[in-house]
């Protein structure tokens, strides 16, 4: 491709040096707390979420060890409850959502829409610090034997003041608050970035599918999280301020908690899966060397999945006994979600069918996705049917089902995406051989670990049991599952070795090693601090493939400030200019103040009232208007965009 392998002209070199001066991220130890560029924050999210993935994965190994033998005493029941709760909580709240949504959205969406930073970069930095503080808090509590132990869902009354003494459920509920704030912040940034900061020409019908996925996920975050905000806050109030929301003895309601939790909890699954599906669309397009077949179908499928996801929360509650008419509605709604997902799958297959296939490691991971995720979708129909669900609900069948859906639908695409974008992140290629080895180890290990769970569930083994009797016929299947874990462990080790090795010694990638069509490949690998030397314009769905021979670039932005171009939501016509804020440590300080308030409120309700004072001070520092940029805006008349 013609993208930038041509040497720079003298004028371009000058321009690059000027941009570098303006966009340079602060360096040094203190600089670490000031950076606001989306690639830096995005990478931090990736590394942090990756660490949580490894930690939660190790906990899975501890569980598999305990369950490899009937009536084993390797873990006490108390330890086992903490381990499975920490595994689920960490995977869902500290790995899956921060990785699939926040990390990928922050790093790639601004690049893919062709702008210089994410909207509200300081809020972005704030969201990262809150996320990492919430995660650290949960894990420090765990190492102090105060680990959450009521399941990742923490149903009342088991997690309430009467049956959950100590501070364990409080740490859990407060960790939710941390991750809520950070996810909501990123959702707002993503939506504004996509709706207002796109490259000229990237009208709605030319937005890359990956970006669509992240926008839809953002809306789901905004509509879904209030449910868990309510449930976890009400739980905390019941525990710390003696409210009685969930106490049946005085008219409280234990089912209310479940409705609120699953109003968020079910869309949560799609918040994790939609970015995964969007990665699959991206990789299928690149590696079948053609435009996605059925772009419109795929985008509308993602949108309708986002809507339908809010209509099926009750299918987590079928066993609570619900009226028959509600049963019928939620069964139908749960099965209907198969229609948009099916439409996407058929579009991917026809795209592959009519394309020229280049079978490299990212595509192998996508094939693993097809095998695994579709099986998870099929077992999803079992749990959507109320009568069948009454047999398999809360058994290992469901454990198998959601690992097929979540590992199949998110982790396989994530590995695919990571292999695919590694050259963009680091400038070097991952080793193809090690990539294949890790793929096959992971794929085979996954099936060995999780397929027998269907069987052991149908044989009657419930979830969340710390042990089981030896005469139930579950022992051998459990041992096979535990053996499979070893392969999964090795697969992740090989993958990490590949990353570490390739980061130093991998082949140089160049700007566009896969000859792909989206805008992140239009700049150097890794991208400079200003993302693009020439801000691009767009002429089709795959911007680089469809570029005209003399595709224009954006000109006329001030190069002595961090200015950027605003475009209109529908047609992405230029609509004005504005400036990104400078790096600053205020978001970090505000996050620390917020962390102190959140953690303080675990121990006393006064934590919120008194803790609000430092938050207010740091926020004032953060938003304190500066004379110079305000003057500049006025003088250049970029304040008003009309």
């Amino acid at each position: 491709m013609s993208t930038t392998t041509t040497p720079l002209t003298e004028a371009e070199r000058k321009q690059a040096a000027q941009l570098e001066r303006v966009w340079k991220e602060p360096s040094g130890f203190l600089g670490w707390f000031k950076v606001v560029h989306h690639t830096t924050i995005g990478k931090r999210y990736m590394v942090t979420a990756g660490v949580f993935f490894l930690l939660a994965g190790l906990l899975a190994g501890v569980m598999r060890l305990q369950l490899a033998f009937p009536e084993a005493h390797i873990l006490s029941p108390d330890q086992y409850d903490q381990v499975f709760t920490m595994h689920g909580t960490t995977m869902m709240f500290l790995f899956a959502v921060p990785m699939m949504f926040e990390a990928l959205s922050i790093y790639f969406v601004p690049l893919m829409v062709g702008t210089r930073n994410i909207a509200f970069p300081r809020l972005n930095a704030y969201s990262y610090y809150l996320y990492v503080c919430g995660g650290i808090m949960l894990w420090v509590a765990f190492f102090c034997n105060t680990g959450a132990d009521r399941g990742w869902f923490a149903y009342v009354p088991l997690s309430g003041p009467d049956y959950g003494p100590g501070k364990r459920p409080d740490f859990w509920a407060q960790m939710i608050t941390f991750t809520e704030v950070s996810a909501l912040a990123v959702a707002v940034e993503t939506i504004v970035t996509v709706f207002r900061l796109r490259a000229p020409g990237m009208s709605l019908n030319r937005i890359p599918i990956f970006v669509w996925g992240q926008v839809i996920t953002s809306f789901m975050v905004i509509f879904g999280l209030p449910g868990v905000v309510l449930s976890s806050t009400m739980l905390l109030l019941d525990r710390t301020a003696s409210t009685q929301f969930f106490n049946p003895a005085v008219g409280g309601d234990v089912l209310l908690y479940q409705h609120l939790f699953w109003w968020f909890g079910h869309p949560e699954v799609y918040i994790i899966f939609i970015p995964g599906a969007a990665i699959v669309s991206t990789i299928v397009t690149t590696f079948s060397r053609r435009h996605m077949f059925g772009y419109l179908i795929v985008v509308l499928s993602l949108v309708s999945t986002g809507f339908l996801a809010f209509g099926l929360w009750v299918h987590h509650m079928f066993a609570t006994g619900i009226p028959q008419i509600a049963e019928a509605y939620f069964t139908a709604a749960s099965m209907m979600i198969a229609i948009p997902t099916g439409a996407q799958i058929f579009c991917w297959i026809t795209t592959l069918w009519s394309g020229k296939i280049v079978l490299r490691t990212p595509l192998w991971w996508v094939l693993g996705f097809f095998f695994t995720f579709i099986m998870g979708g099929m077992t999803g129909i079992f749990v959507a049917s109320v009568p069948v669900d009454l047999q398999v609900h809360d058994t290992y069948f469901v454990v198998a089902h959601f690992h097929y859906v979540l590992i199949g639908g998110a982790v396989f695409p994530l590995f695919a995406g990571f292999t695919y974008w590694f050259p963009k992140l680091t400038g070097r290629m991952l080793s193809e051989v090690l990539g294949q080895v890790s793929f096959w180890l992971f794929f085979v290990g996954f099936q060995i670990t999780f397929f027998p769970m269907h069987l052991v569930g149908l044989r009657g083994m419930p979830r969340r049991v710390y042990t089981y009797p030896s005469n139930m016929g579950w022992t051998h299947l459990n041992q096979v599952e535990s053996a499979g874990y070893i392969l999964l462990f090795l697969a992740v080790c090989v993958f990490l070795a590949n990353v570490i090795r390739s980061k130093r010694h991998g082949a140089l990638a160049g700007p566009n090693p896969w000859n792909a069509g989206t805008l992140e490949w239009a700049t150097t690998s890794p991208p400079p601090s200003y993302n693009f030397l020439h801000l691009p314009t767009v002429n089709g769905r795959e911007a680089l493939w469809d570029a005209a021979p003399n595709q224009p670039v954006v000109t006329g932005l001030d190069e002595d400030t961090r200015s950027f171009l605003l475009t209109r939501t529908l047609d992405a016509e230029p609509d004005g200019k504005d400036e990104f804020p400078e790096p600053t440590a205020w978001p970090f300080l505000a996050a620390m103040a917020t962390t102190a308030a959140f953690i303080g409120s675990i121990f006393t309700p006064w934590g919120i009232t008194i803790g609000a004072i430092p938050i207010a001070i740091t926020m004032i520092g953060w938003f304190w208007p500066k004379r110079e940029p305000a003057e500049r805006r006025r003088s250049r008349e970029i304040w008003q965009t009309e």
């Binding site: 296939i357 280049v358 595509l363 049917s385 795959e542």
Partner: protein
């Protein structure tokens, strides 16, 4: 339709796929239908994926330039996607209707105007079982073992005394949650005499793993006989050893939590022990009811079921032996 049940791996007394009652049997039909449809679809889709990938495979080092596609060149693809979607929707409706029919069949299982009612209360971590009767003296209280007559619909009325539990005996019927503040009603029918195991299916704390129960299906006359016997008070101890044993029971911690009908022990915190010796397991299906197990359980239940509400008891010399001898008379 019952091909799955024939698979030997799925026989047993706690499996959903070898039903012994109409509830589980209805569900098993829908399960099989969904199984066959989804397995076939999965195989077809995966075959399509494999063919799609192997049809025009390039093993080039360089990525070839992207292909131009037009509406005309994609006409075949559009048709394929359209047909596949049509089939998907059709199959979904078949499974949906089957699911509705099963749900309806289970909902209308009760054929009798006044079926036998059994109250089941979930506790951390055992099951309180009660056979209500208008005559208070004839109320039967037991724990962890539910006797039912064969071939007759039985109405289970349940709730929880503490946290949420889930009542599940997979050979007989799907599960239902028992929730504090809510009443749960479900119908059971067992068509085959035997011991059918069930287990709590909703995470309920430390000993969620050791919260099993048995549904014991008996012919009607045997069941009536059992029920009459259970309504009796405990026998008065006849020899010196068992008399001493009863005194041990009534003067130690036991009496603070347990009931033995016909004595002054009448606390309802733990299981009713009036007919303890007639039960086949102790500690909610955790151990067979033998003298040795009972002794271990009384002395230190925490070593068997850590976290259980039963405290350790220090009993010396003949006290334990006599207590055990007394408990074994509680047939």
């Amino acid at each position: 339709m019952n091909l799955l049940a024939a698979v030997p791996g799925f026989t047993g007394n706690q499996t959903a796929l070898s039903p012994v009652g109409p509830g589980a049997a209805h569900i098993e039909h829908t399960f099989s239908l969904i199984f066959w449809i989804t397995s076939t679809v999965w195989l077809l889709v995966l075959t399509a994926v494999v063919i799609a990938v192997y049809r025009r495979r390039y093993t080039l080092e360089q990525m070839p330039p992207p292909e131009r596609t037009t509406e005309a060149s994609d006409r075949f693809a559009a048709r394929a996607v359209g047909v596949s979607m049509g089939i998907t929707v059709l199959l979904l409706f078949i499974m949906l209707i089957s699911s509705f029919r099963t749900g309806h069949a289970i909902g209308t299982m009760n054929s009798e105007p006044q079926p036998l009612t059994i109250d089941v209360y979930g506790h951390q971590w055992w099951w309180e079982v009660r056979y209500p009767n208008p005559v208070p003296a004839n109320i039967v209280e037991t724990a962890n073992e539910i006797h039912v007559p064969v071939g007759v619909p039985v109405h289970i009325h349940g709730t929880s005394r503490d946290v949420i539990h889930s009542f599940w005996a997979p050979n007989i019927q799907g599960k239902r949650d028992l929730m504090p503040g809510y009443d749960t009603d479900l119908m059971l029918q067992v068509d085959q005499p035997g011991y059918w195991r069930g287990q709590c299916a909703e995470f309920c704390g430390l000993q969620h793993a050791h919260m099993a129960f048995y549904i014991i299906a008996q012919p009607k006359d045997e069941f009536e006989h059992w029920l009459t016997a259970q309504a009796q008070s405990a026998p008065v101890p006849s020899d010196a050893q068992t008399q001493h044993g009863q005194q041990v029971f009534l003067t130690h911690g036991c009496v603070l939590c347990h009931t033995i009908g016909g004595t002054t022990a009448a606390s309802r915190v733990g299981p009713d022990l009036t007919h303890l010796a007639s039960r086949s397991t102790i500690a909610a299906g955790t151990l067979p009811n033998t003298t040795g197990n009972l002794a271990g359980w009384i002395l230190n239940a925490q070593s068997i079921k850590p976290g259980a509400r039963m405290p350790p008891n220090q009993l010396f010399g003949t006290d334990l032996q006599d207590l055990l001898a007394y408990l074994e008379t509680l047939k």
